[in-house]
Structures are given as structure tokens and as C-alpha cells.
């Protein structure tokens, strides 16, 4: 009992230190990052597919330099949609290497094809030490994948054994993709639809045939307003963007000031601005309608009762697939009392483009 008390007595000034000692240990546990083990990789890897046309019978030229200069008896070429060696391999759709032929080799040579499946090929040779000489292997009679959307890869690995069994020595991945050089009429590529008028139907099948807005007579006591509509949609995976282009309202050299940032409408102050939302002051406009809510109004043009105009600005868009959505554009014009007489007009071009 006395010893315990003496222990407490001696330790009591050190509780702070104990806490300080424990804290870093706790932090180390918390901040410990899982270790990633390192594997040597082939150097200077490349792949040339000729022709890179979907479904075509092509020649594949694989080039690499060996990293680990040791005895090598075999190499495995595994064709997958995923380049990561330890991940499950999904064969590229339509690919067939089961009839491939090794027609040429340079650098480290002596290989022959030991076995082939539709997406895997094992090369074998008399085991021998390899050098870091750049090496090239040409395979003919490989049928390209038919799916043009995804890239595909060859996972390369070499082994001391003659049948690609046992511990691998080096590994690496080369990648490629196939694409159509010509648009085949029987295929329907992704489409982008777009329409603009004073009023449009949501599906762009009809509009009111009016492609202008008459704002009326300008004076310093009233705000002139107008609206127009546009619909857009795409099934392209990159989405679309709509920009507004054109000058502010002008009569010769006299220009009504375009609002540079979202600003309230004030009669008697020279202002020209637009937005794409519902407003109450003045009362006009509407929010976008349509089921694909990933198509949105640009932030600056989405403030109720705040208007601005910037030539070339993005006013709406979708970052990916978005079917038809209709946007209503609200226009306001205010004139200062000293505005010079004239016919003030502008032509606004709404440009809808795909994204890359």
C-alpha cells in the first residue's frame, strides 16, 4: 500500500509528461498510412496498334526495356480494360488474341508463343539473363476491341519460369484505344439539341416563330423588360454549355451600360442586363423547367432580381448527360435621363456547344 502511495507520489508531477507521451502515439496510430509496396516496372513501355480501328485485325507492336536484369523464361501479356495489375481483369469487348502470331522480335529475343486465349498470351524462351536493351515484339492477327468508349491495356509481366508461373520479376502496363475515323451512317452518335425563340417548347419541336423582343420606348422613369426562351439537351457524356454573345444595346456610338456584376434594376440609371431565373422586381422570368436538374444556370445569372451582362459569358450548361431543359431569359433595360435619342438595338447569339 505504501509502495503504491509512493508510486502515486513520484508519478504525480509527471502526469503531464505521460499525457504528452501518449498523445504522439495516438497520433501515430491515427495518421498511419497503409504502406504501398514497390514493384519494379518495365521501362520505356509503348504500344503501337495498326490500325486502331474497332473490330479490325491489327498488328500490335509492344516495346519495353527490362528493369531487373536477371534470368527470364517467360512473359505474360494480359489484355484488360483496367491497367492495375492486382485488379480483376475484364477482357475488352470484342478483343481476340487467340490467333495472334509473333512475327518479329528485337532486343531480348528467343520468345515463342506458348499459349493463347482470347485475352491472354504467354511467351516462353530458354531461360537466360536479360539486358536493358530496348526490346520490341510484333504480333499480328489480333482482333481489336469493338467498344470505342473505353481505353484498354496490356498488363505485362515476366517470370523466371518458362510458363509464367511463380514470382513475377518486372511488370508494367501499356495502353491504347480504338476509334472510328469515319462516322458510319448506321451508327447514331451522341446528339446535342438546341433551340431559341421568344417561346419554345421544351422538346424544341416547336416555337412561336418570334426571334426578337420589342422592348418599347426608353425613358428614365420606367424599366423595359422582355423574355425569351431556349431549350437544350444532350446524351453526350461530356454535357453542354450555353454562352451569350453580342454587344449591349447601342445606337451608333451610344451604348447602354451593360451591368458588370449582378445588380438590381434601377430606373433612371443606364443599365442592360439579363438573368435566367424568376424575378419579382420587376416581375418577369421563370426558373428552368425539365426533369434533368443537372443542367443548371450559371451562378452569376441565377440571382433573382439581379441582372448582369457579359459578352461571351456562360449562362447555363450541364457537366454531363442531360436531356432537354428549358431556360427563360429575362432582359431589363434602364435609361439615364441624359440618354441620347436613337434606335437602341442588339443582336444576342446564344451558342450551345459540347464540352471536351
Amino acid at each position: 500500500m505504501h509502495r503504491l502511495k509512493r508510486l502515486h507520489f513520484h508519478l504525480s508531477p509527471h502526469y503531464g509528461y505521460i499525457l504528452e507521451a501518449i498523445t504522439p502515439l495516438l497520433c501515430a496510430l491515427v495518421f498511419m498510412v497503409p504502406q504501398v509496396y514497390a514493384v519494379t516496372r518495365f521501362n520505356n513501355r509503348s504500344l503501337l496498334v495498326t490500325p486502331p480501328v474497332p473490330g479490325a485485325t491489327a498488328t500490335y507492336t509492344v516495346s519495353l526495356s527490362y528493369n531487373t536484369l536477371t534470368t527470364v523464361g517467360s512473359m505474360d501479356l494480359l489484355f484488360c480494360t483496367d491497367p492495375i495489375p492486382n485488379d480483376p481483369c475484364i477482357a475488352p469487348q470484342g478483343l481476340n488474341v487467340s490467333h495472334a502470331q509473333l512475327t518479329n522480335q528485337a532486343g531480348v529475343t528467343g520468345y515463342s508463343i506458348k499459349s493463347e486465349t482470347s485475352n491472354d498470351m504467354v511467351l516462353t524462351r530458354n531461360p537466360g539473363v536479360v539486358s536493358d536493351t530496348p526490346s520490341t515484339y510484333v504480333f499480328s492477327n489480333i482482333v481489336n476491341p469493338t467498344k470505342t468508349v473505353d481505353a484498354y491495356f496490356i498488363r505485362l509481366s515476366d517470370y523466371a519460369s518458362t510458363d509464367a508461373s511463380g514470382s513475377l520479376i518486372d511488370l508494367g502496363t501499356v495502353g491504347s484505344e480504338v476509334n472510328n475515323s469515319l462516322i458510319v451512317q448506321t451508327q447514331v452518335p451522341p446528339m446535342l439539341v438546341f433551340c431559341v425563340a421568344q417561346e419554345v417548347s421544351q422538346d424544341c419541336n416547336s416555337d412561336d416563330g418570334i426571334y426578337f423582343s420589342d422592348l418599347g420606348n426608353l425613358d428614365s422613369t420606367h424599366t423595359l423588360t422582355a423574355t425569351s426562351q431556349m431549350s437544350a439537351g444532350t446524351n453526350a457524356s461530356q454535357g453542354y454549355v450555353i454562352t451569350v454573345n453580342g454587344p449591349s444595346m447601342e445606337a451608333g456610338t451610344n451604348v447602354i451600360t451593360p451591368l458588370a456584376k449582378p445588380t438590381a434594376s434601377i430606373a433612371g440609371v443606364s443599365q442592360f442586363g439579363i438573368n435566367l431565373t424568376t424575378n419579382t422586381a420587376p416581375s418577369l422570368g421563370a426558373d428552368p423547367d425539365g426533369s434533368f436538374t443537372n443542367a443548371v444556370v450559371a451562378a452569376d445569372y441565377d440571382h433573382p432580381n439581379r441582372f448582369l451582362y457579359q459578352d461571351g459569358a456562360v449562362v447555363a450548361g450541364a457537366p454531363n448527360v442531360a436531356l432537354i431543359r428549358r431556360f427563360t431569359v429575362s432582359y431589363i433595360v434602364n435609361a439615364a435621363s441624359n440618354l441620347r435619342a436613337g434606335v437602341y438595338t442588339t443582336t444576342l447569339t446564344y451558342i450551345c456547344s459540347g464540352r471536351f
Binding site: K5, Y211, L218, T349, G354
Partner: protein
């Protein structure tokens, strides 16, 4: 004579008055064209030096009542920011970009698509024999030309982005700029990286800078582990839409931590895509590992690997953590207090006196 002069003066005044009192609007032109069109938003071609390729534009007139009159012209573009929004050079006298396909392309100046119909318009691209390998891109503008009359005249224009790859040995140089959890409310239209996330992140992202002379479309995988080493996400394709990093661009590649597949059909064409779902992350630290590849056909396949961490600490978890720390601190203080109190009690003092006495 005086009457004639007076009459002429009045007439001149009347004419002057008519000229000066100008209406705020002008009578609209009778020219009308449909404004509803469908186009192919992106065209990718591979053309060898010395080769001429004929490709096709597919243009649809969505109106069932009016023909679609279009003016076609090639325009150059570049990137606007780190997204895939093109910056179009619309001016007629805009300088040609070094990656422009204007010297190669031959398209008709205008077409008419009858109401409700789709027209296929062929165009050719001829790459000169000595043309260097790399990426060349411009856009094709389709202007409907309904811009006549009114205070505000409206015009609808569609744009197709055309990318041409000239194969050969190219200069490829892509570097990773940033990686981590990405907070966005609109799928990347706006947002930013976040190291400590009080709102559960639904997205992770990485930014690549393209210093080469070819537009790059990286591929690869991204894995996310929690701080106990458990894999919580395995993104097998970090660029499913084959987004491009244009020449000179720092491009953001955004991915869902968890997603579900969707498919959308438009005009007979079906596209498969992914939508983000709730990843159900627990509070704590997460490590993401990127293994990305890029490389043009026949060029070296280059690999980018990187690791980054981020925290997910919702406010309720921060409160719980603070409470736990307070409890520990409180417990320690209470133990110290009890020990001090125990030492100051009489039976402890008698024991000390006894020990001193023995000495």
C-alpha cells in the same frame, strides 16, 4: 414665291421631324428559319499525314413547320478554365491558333434542312504530307441566322468540336498538380478541393497540367482506403467520358466516390453514364491512390502515380471528439485532485512524521 418657300420649309421640317422621332423598335424582317437543331457535339478523327478523310455532319431540324437555314464555318477554340468549356474565337479576323484545323478542313458554307428532317453533310479533312504529329482541333459553327429586327434580336448557334489526331511521335508531358476530395454542389461546375471535409464528400478529383503538344485523355484507377486500411472505394475508370486536357491546360478530372450507372437515350442514341450516390463514409482520415496512364498510339505509355489524404469530420464528430477529450482531461484532473487531497489528510502526515522520526 413666299408661299412656295413656306411650303418647302414646312415640308423640310416635317421630314426632319419624322427622321428625329425614331421608334424604339423596328419592323421585323419577314425572313424566318427554324431555330431548333440537333448536331453531333464532338467528332474525333485520326488522319495520317498526306491522307484525306471524308467525314459527315449529321444535322437535324427539330421544327415540324419551318425549314432550317444554316450557315457553317470553322472557328478556333481553346480552353476557358480547368473544365471542358471551350473558349470560342468568334471574330471573323481572329488569329488562327497553332492547333487549328482550318487549313485542313473543307465544309459547305450553308445548308437547308427541311422541316422535321435530318441531313447528313459530308466534309473533308486533308492533312498535308509533312504535317507534324500531334493534336489539332477547331469547331464547326452552325448559325441559324434568325437575327433580324426588334430591340433585342435572337440568334441560335450550335457548335461541334472537331479533334484530329495526326499519329506519330509526339511530345507528351503531363504532370499532376493537385489531388484530393472535391466539394461541389453541381458536379464540378463550381467547387474546390477540401482537405478537411465537414460535409461528406461525394467526389474526389485530380488536376493534370498538359505541357505537351497533344490533347491527352488519361485513364487509370483510383482507390480509397480508410485509416484502418479498408478499401472503401475502387474507381476502375477515372476518365469514363474520355475528357481531354487540351494543350497548355490544367484540367480537373472529377470522379464519384460511389456511383450507379444510368443510361440516357436521345434521338436513337443511348449513352451510359454514372451518377454519384452517397458513399456512406465514417468520420476519419482517408487515403486515395491514383494510378493513371496516358500515351498516344505508338508512343510511350506513361504512368502517373500519387497518393493523397483527406479528412471527413462532420460537426457532430468534432463535437463528440471534443467531448471525449474533455472527459479525458476531466478524468485526469479529478485523479490529480484526489491524490492531492489524499496527501493532505492527517493519517498521511502522521506516516511522514513517523518516517522522519525513524531517520
Amino acid at each position: 414665291m413666299k408661299r412656295l418657300a413656306s411650303f418647302l420649309s414646312v415640308a423640310l421640317v416635317a421630314v426632319f421631324a419624322m427622321v428625329s422621332v425614331v421608334p424604339a423598335s423596328a419592323a421585323p424582317s419577314s425572313t424566318r428559319s427554324s431555330s431548333g437543331l440537333s448536331i453531333i457535339p464532338r467528332i474525333n478523327l485520326q488522319i495520317n499525314p498526306g491522307q484525306t478523310v471524308t467525314s459527315k455532319l449529321v444535322i437535324g431540324n427539330l421544327s415540324n413547320t419551318t425549314d432550317l437555314n444554316l450557315t457553317l464555318r470553322p472557328i478556333d477554340f481553346t480552353f476557358s478554365n480547368d473544365s471542358g468549356v471551350p473558349k470560342l474565337f468568334l471574330a471573323q479576323n481572329a488569329p488562327q491558333t497553332t492547333w487549328s484545323i482550318k487549313p485542313f478542313i473543307n465544309i459547305p458554307g450553308g445548308i437547308v434542312v427541311p422541316k422535321g428532317q435530318t441531313k447528313t453533310v459530308p466534309f473533308t479533312l486533308s492533312v498535308p504530307k509533312g504535317q507534324g504529329a500531334g493534336s489539332y482541333y477547331s469547331a464547326i459553327e452552325y448559325e441559324s441566322g434568325n437575327s433580324n429586327g426588334g430591340s433585342v434580336s435572337l440568334s441560335a448557334t450550335g457548335v461541334s468540336l472537331v479533334f484530329v489526331e495526326v499519329p506519330g511521335i509526339v511530345h507528351e508531358d503531363v504532370s499532376l498538380q493537385k489531388m484530393g476530395a472535391y466539394q461541389t454542389a453541381n458536379q464540378g461546375v463550381t467547387g474546390g478541393y477540401a482537405f478537411i471535409n465537414t460535409i461528406m464528400p461525394r467526389n474526389v478529383a485530380f488536376s493534370l497540367k498538359n505541357n505537351g503538344n497533344v490533347a491527352e485523355s488519361p485513364s487509370g484507377t483510383l482507390t480509397i482506403h480508410d485509416m484502418w486500411g479498408n478499401k472503401v472505394a475502387n474507381i476502375t475508370n477515372v476518365n469514363p467520358s474520355q475528357d481531354l486536357a487540351l494543350i497548355g491546360q490544367t484540367r480537373l478530372f472529377l470522379n464519384c466516390i460511389k456511383s450507379q450507372p444510368t443510361s440516357v437515350t436521345l434521338g436513337g442514341s443511348t449513352t451510359h453514364s454514372q451518377t454519384c450516390t452517397n458513399p456512406h463514409l465514417w468520420p476519419g482520415m482517408y487515403t486515395m491512390t491514383l494510378d493513371s496512364f496516358y500515351g498516344q498510339n505508338g508512343n510511350q505509355t506513361k504512368e502517373l502515380t500519387a497518393t493523397a489524404t483527406f479528412w471527413y469530420m462532420p460537426w457532430w464528430a468534432i463535437v463528440v471528439l471534443l467531448l471525449i477529450v474533455l472527459l479525458i482531461v476531466g478524468a485526469i484532473l479529478r485523479i490529480r485532485y484526489k491524490i492531492r487531497k489524499h496527501r493532505s489528510t492527517p493519517h498521511v502526515q502522521r506516516a511522514r512524521t513517523f518516517r522522519l522520526g525513524r531517520k
